[in-house]
């Protein structure tokens, strides 16, 4: 690759958006005396030198840019898989109540926890398909009865709800031996 093509590569690899010929020209001082035909020729050299690389030179409506070839999208997309946030204690408590005391209504959850149930938490649990509405309780207002799903069992690697420790066990077990510190970061 000649020097001009290399400079163009460096400019395009650090550009936030596509750059037109005119914009590329502005990167050079008048002493450097880079002409349009020279620029075009250098861009051609650059494009040829991207053969066999993971990226290619593309000319879009607003100008030139270096972009990743599509066949690498599988891997490149994984940049976006952010490490998910942790679930709140509230969510875990509500999920635990639903698991151990299903079927359970919101009112019953509120009674045990002593605070109103945040609708967003129930929504999250429903979306995650860990809980579902088992039916409606035949009391005024016909509240929904909530229970856990098969996905819940699968996720927590339980064969059945019987595999959940009993309430007595939950109360007495030394969790210090169970809770494995999540790796930081």
């Amino acid at each position: 690759m000649d020097r001009l093509a290399l400079v163009l590569e460096a400019i395009l690899l650090t550009a936030a958006k596509p750059l037109s010929l005119e914009q590329l020209e502005s990167f050079f001082s008048s002493e450097e005396a880079v002409t349009r035909p020279q620029l075009r020729a250098a861009l051609k050299v650059l494009a040829d030198n991207c053969v066999g690389r993971s990226f290619e030179l593309k000319e879009t409506a607003s100008g030139y840019r270096l972009q990743t070839r599509e066949q690498y999208s599988t891997w490149v997309l994984k940049h976006h898989i952010e490490k998910p946030a942790k679930y709140s204690r509230t969510l875990l408590e509500i999920l635990a109540l639903i698991a151990w005391r299903q079927p359970i209504t919101r009112a019953e959850i509120e009674e045990v926890r002593g605070v109103a149930v945040n609708g967003a938490v129930i929504k999250t649990l429903l979306e995650r398909e860990w809980i579902r509405v088992l039916g409606h309780k035949e009391v005024p207002g016909r509240p929904e009865m909530l229970g856990t799903t098969r996905q819940f069992l699968d996720y927590f690697q339980l064969k059945s709800l019987d595999d959940l420790p009993s309430l007595m066990e939950v109360r007495d077990v030394d969790l210090a031996t169970l809770v494995v510190e999540a790796p930081s970061d």
Binding site: L13, T14, S54, F55, R65, L66, Q67, T68, E70, Y72, V76, L77, H80, I81, E82, K83, P84, A85, Y87, R89, L92, E93, L95, A96, L97, A99, R101, Q102, P103, I104, V112, R113, L126, R128, R132, L134, G135, K137, E138, M145, G147, R150, L153, F156, Q157, L158, S160, L161, D162, P165, S166, L167, M168, V170, R171, V173, L175, L178, V179, V180
Partner: protein, 274 residues
């Protein structure tokens, strides 16, 4: 702003005594306008920096500095600051006091040699050396190639499909811990007694299977009778889960979100036989 920027001529302070020659008078170039003096003071990082400048400016070695000479120059500087009523940082005055002490010691008749730890000159030289080391380290640091000064991240555009949002992870012990806390808080155990009822569950399993006989499928919800109370519903659920586990029944869901679960007898004959 580095000391190198300072015009050396401006700082060419009069030498108090050179090779035995006595000092004549303060040369005129010491009388810098107060504003310029304030700027000069700004270019120094502190008294040690000023002292180092005075030493280096005369091509002297720190370890062989003529203390008296340097002290006088420094004092001349401080005096000048006072004359122009420039606010001098306390640090400069602390150094002036130290230098004055050294100077007065040098005036005293020579007694037995002081040990290194006791000699204030040695302490001053040590501090000057240590500070010079830091000053050099700062320069070295600034000279290192730096990201976004010499180097930039090479990036290509990659506008593929929208990103996938991942779900938070949680482990059973965490769930247990949350529940344990809740139990402690609500003291559930004293008010509610929940026991597993294996027998009633077996019975319920039979009932579920009976209900399904001759039916193509029944909705999951139809197995629950809320009037039986919480315990009854739990037993039904457990019964159904047990049946599923034993592959005695099958569960289906239409291919849409939140479609009702349908329960049916298995289609394969051997499962029915079991």
């Amino acid at each position: 702003m580095t000391a190198n920027v300072v015009n050396p001529r401006q700082l060419a302070l009069p030498v108090a005594r050179v090779h035995g020659k006595p000092i004549t008078s303060v040369p005129e170039d010491l009388y810098i306008p107060p504003n310029a003096l304030a700027v000069l003071l700004d270019t120094f990082e502190g008294p040690l920096d000023l002292l180092l400048y005075l030493i280096r400016h005369q091509n002297l070695d720190i370890c062989e500095i003529p203390i008296a000479k340097i002290t006088e120059q420094y004092m001349g500087y401080v005096k000048l600051m006072h004359e122009f009523q420039l606010e001098l940082a306390a640090d400069y005055l602390v150094m002036a006091a130290l230098l004055a002490e050294i100077k007065s010691r040098l005036l005293l008749p020579r007694r037995e040699m002081l040990s290194l730890e006791e000699d204030p000159r040695a302490e001053l030289v040590r501090r000057l050396q240590e500070y010079e080391q830091v000053r050099q380290a700062a320069l070295d640091l600034d000279n290192l190639p730096r990201f976004e000064r010499e180097h930039w991240a090479a990036q290509t555009a990659a506008e593929f499909e929208p990103p996938v949002r991942a779900q938070p992870e949680v482990k059973l012990p965490e769930l247990l811990a949350a529940f344990q806390q809740l139990l402690k808080r609500a003291d559930l155990l004293t008010h509610h007694q929940i026991k597993r009822e294996p027998l009633s569950m077996r019975e319920r399993m039979s009932r579920v299977l009976a209900q399904l006989q001759g039916q193509s499928a029944l909705s999951f919800a139809s197995f629950f009778a809320p009037e039986e109370g919480r315990r009854g519903v739990v037993v039904s659920l457990m019964a159904i889960l047990e049946l599923l586990k034993a592959q005695l029944i099958e569960v289906h869901q239409a291919d849409e979100a939140y479609a009702p679960l349908m329960i049916s007898l298995p289609t394969s004959p051997q499962a029915v036989a079991a």
